[in-house]
């Protein structure tokens, strides 16, 4: 495009060739969208923990499906995936595969059973199933850590998109550039709405957020494809005709990565999907186990709409970039900051009206906010419910619990903001690290805990510790050095090749399984009551809406059980 205004490149994080300036219509669009989220959050604001954490177990099929979709589709799906496909070619597709197909595993092995277990948080399951506050604490810390690592990518995505809409306010906060000011502003808004609304508000909002993000994404794709003559009615399939002209880098297999890395990354993303606390907790919020199953199918369908479209968007964006800016591949090629906003950039390069480009950008913000909501609710409930209420202060009142919950949301927000000021990797990769963590620590506990009644406390403690330690090794090897100017990443190239941070669960998961099983076998079996709870999770006998497996096992359901 000839009309691109020259953007001063003060900082490498400002995406070049994106039109960074204040735009009135898109700004009104985004501000009213954020206002809508706040209003919904206010209407469904909560004062009790049941609604704060599990939305009163009242959510139905399609609504939960949409919440699963919105919860799931973050800035990493909305922006990062198309970016990876554009830059990394065939390897970028690992995100398409890993972030969709995992739902089937979740469905057949865990969704209904989790609903039957019916507690509040992911660490609840670990703590109660293995009768251990230690295991509960490790799970809670992991949950908090996942929320933190995952949200860095979201904050980055929101800030990049915010630059397009609101312009460059570098220097407004002394010492911070335009991107960093935007990170701070976006995180303040997100945290503000979350502390008000809790899980019920977040769930109601997520259905709205899903609608906004999917309409923005799909409409953007159709408009770009139509106006540029790439596609007509089904861009999700028509972009195939374009692939040949994009250069071999776009589709050549294993050009930018090995077969091993491909398999390791997909594996890690899949088991991570099944271990992410904010995903698992969606199954506690539904009416019944049948709803848990069908809402997974709905959720996957809603997710697929975006995942079928993202590669097409990447193809269109790559083609437009090559035509209008410069060759995408080779040297200098597309800068990574530009690729991260390729969805917005494609709409801009296609010369669509400004308000429309703003809509596409707003969808990215909706995606990021919806996911941060899910993550921070899971992270704060881990602190408030699992650590504070269950371990530190067992007599905590509801008011105290909610206060601690809100404070931990603020803490998570502050930590995320700091880390996102100078992020170490691409949006999709940052999120990928959180998946490796979930797949290494939480997934094995849920899977074994649910499907093998003899898995016990000692096994879980040993397994989770192993998972945490093993996950940190490639993180220290590859990511930590990028935050220290004196070190060069990776520290060990061989380790990075065979145990990459983004795909480390391929190695850690089997090890954690073996450790958990071996330690469980050489120590005492869990008590009969625990086994009966596991059995209740698999019984086909229907349960009442507010009942948990524990209630049934201890008879009646109204008597509080102590453990």
């Amino acid at each position: 495009m000839t009309g691109i205004p020259p953007v001063p490149l003060q900082e490498s994080l400002l995406p070049e060739s994106l039109d960074i300036s204040f735009k009135l219509l898109p700004a009104i669009l985004v501000v009213s969208m954020l206002g809508l989220f706040l209003a919904i959050g206010f209407v469904f604001r909560v004062a009790d923990t049941e609604n704060m954490w599990v939305a009163g177990r009242s959510i139905g099929n399609v609504e939960n499906g949409m919440a699963i979709g919105a919860n799931w589709m973050s800035a990493a799906s909305y922006l990062g995936m198309a970016a990876s496909i554009a830059l990394a070619g065939f390897y970028g597709l690992v995100y398409v595969v890993g972030w969709t197909t995992g739902y089937f595993i979740l469905l057949i092995f865990m969704a209904a059973q989790l609903r039957r277990f019916g507690k509040y948080t992911a660490p609840d399951f670990v703590g109660d199933r293995f009768n251990s506050d230690g295991a509960r604490a490790i799970a809670a810390i992991t949950t908090f850590l996942i929320g933190f690592v995952y949200a860095i990518g979201q904050a980055k995505g929101m800030a990049l998109v915010g630059l397009y809409i609101f312009g460059d306010y570098g220097g407004l906060i002394p010492g911070l550039d335009g991107y960093q000011v935007m990170v701070v502003a976006m995180m303040i808004i997100t945290v503000g709405y979350l502390t008000l609304s809790g899980m019920l508000g977040a769930t109601k909002n997520q259905a709205v957020q899903y609608t906004i993000l999917i309409i923005a994404f799909v409409a953007g794709l159709y408009a770009v494809g139509w106006t540029q003559g790439y596609s007509t009615v089904l861009p999700q399939l028509e972009y195939g005709m374009l692939i040949d002209s994009l250069g071999s880098e776009f589709s050549e297999p294993f050009a930018t990565s090995s077969y091993y890395l491909w398999v390791a990354t997909t594996f890690s993303l899949i088991v991570g999907t099944c271990g992410l606390p904010h995903v698992l907790v969606r199954f506690y919020t539904v009416e019944s186990e049948r709803t848990a199953r069908w809402s997974t199918v709905w959720g996957l369908f809603f997710i697929c709409i975006l995942y079928w479209s993202a590669p097409a968007f990447a193809a269109f964006g790559t083609s437009l970039y090559s035509e209008n800016v410069r060759a995408t591949y080779g040297d200098p090629g597309m800068a990574s900051a530009a690729s991260e906003v390729i969805v917005v950039l494609a709409a801009q390069l296609a010369e669509l009206p400004q308000w429309f480009v703003g809509l596409v950008a707003a969808g990215g913000i909706a995606a990021a906010i919806a996911t941060i909501a899910g993550l921070f609710i899971a992270g704060s409930s881990a602190i408030s419910h699992d650590i504070y209420t269950n371990i530190i202060n067992e007599d905590a009142t509801q008011r105290q619990q909610i206060l601690v919950g809100r404070l931990s949301i603020v803490a998570l927000g502050a930590l995320t903001t700091l880390a996102a000021l100078d992020p170490a990797s691409s949006i999709a990769a940052l999120v990928g690290y959180a998946f490796a963590l979930a797949g290494s620590v939480l997934f094995p506990m849920f899977f074994l805990g649910m499907w093998w009644e003899n898995a016990n406390r000692e096994g879980a403690l040993a397994g989770m510790t192993t998972g945490l330690v093993m996950w940190s090794i490639p993180m220290i090897n590859e990511i930590v050095p990028t935050y220290m100017s004196s070190l060069e990443a990776p520290l060990s190239a061989g380790l990075a090749q065979w145990m990459p941070a983004i795909g480390s669960a391929l190695i850690t998961l089997p090890v954690v399984f073996i450790v958990t099983i071996a330690v469980s076998l050489v120590t005492d079996e869990p008590d009969m009551e625990t086994k009966r709870v596991v059995r209740q999770c698999h019984s086909p006998e229907p349960m009442r809406q507010q009942q948990t497996a524990e209630d049934v096992v201890t008879d009646g359901g109204e008597t509080p059980a102590d453990d």
Binding site: V62, V96, V97, T266, V297, W308, N390, W451, R532, M543
Partner: protein, 156 residues
């Protein structure tokens, strides 16, 4: 896909209509399995993924493992074939224009997972029907107030 989903949504919005459907169709077929279900005390049967202990679990795991095997092929089959037979897999497809491997991964894998999920949920509902399990008869308890306190108490 859309027609399948819409069929579902009507059944799901109101669990009761699903229930009455169960009653009409299970007829005599459910008898034997329904008997087995009523005679099973699920709380005294071991849970082990590799050793199903009840007739229901056996039937269920057969579905689970079948789906799982197909899923493994759909997820890692195309990429493995691409690794082994790169030339054959990267040929351009007629009409669509995709290189075959790209299509199977970008479109094939997510779509397979979606179809499998739908298939599994149908199968699982059919299993409930076969064993005479009716989710609709379970009364819905009051939301909010009392239940909150009871559950909250159970946890603290």
């Amino acid at each position: 896909m859309p027609d399948n989903n819409s069929r579902n949504s009507t059944g799901d919005k109101d669990g009761r209509s699903e229930g009455s459907r169960n009653l009409e169709t299970d007829g005599g077929v459910a008898g034997q399995h329904g008997q087995a279900h009523r005679n099973t005390d699920y709380l005294s049967q071991e849970v082990n993924l590799l050793k199903p202990s009840t007739p229901f679990m056996r039937d269920h795991l057969r579905i689970v493992w079948t789906g799982f095997a197909i899923w493994v092929l759909a997820v890692w089959g195309p990429v493995t074939l691409t690794y082994l037979a790169t030339d054959a897999m990267t040929t351009q497809m007629p009409v669509l224009g995709f290189p075959l491997h790209y299509f199977l991964v970008a479109f094939g894998a997510p779509t397979s997972a979606l179809i499998l999920s739908f298939w599994y949920s149908r199968k699982r509902d059919a299993l409930d029907e076969k064993y005479g399990i009716d989710h609709a008869t379970v009364e819905t308890t009051e939301r909010g107030g009392g239940a909150t306190a009871a559950d909250g108490g159970a946890d603290e």
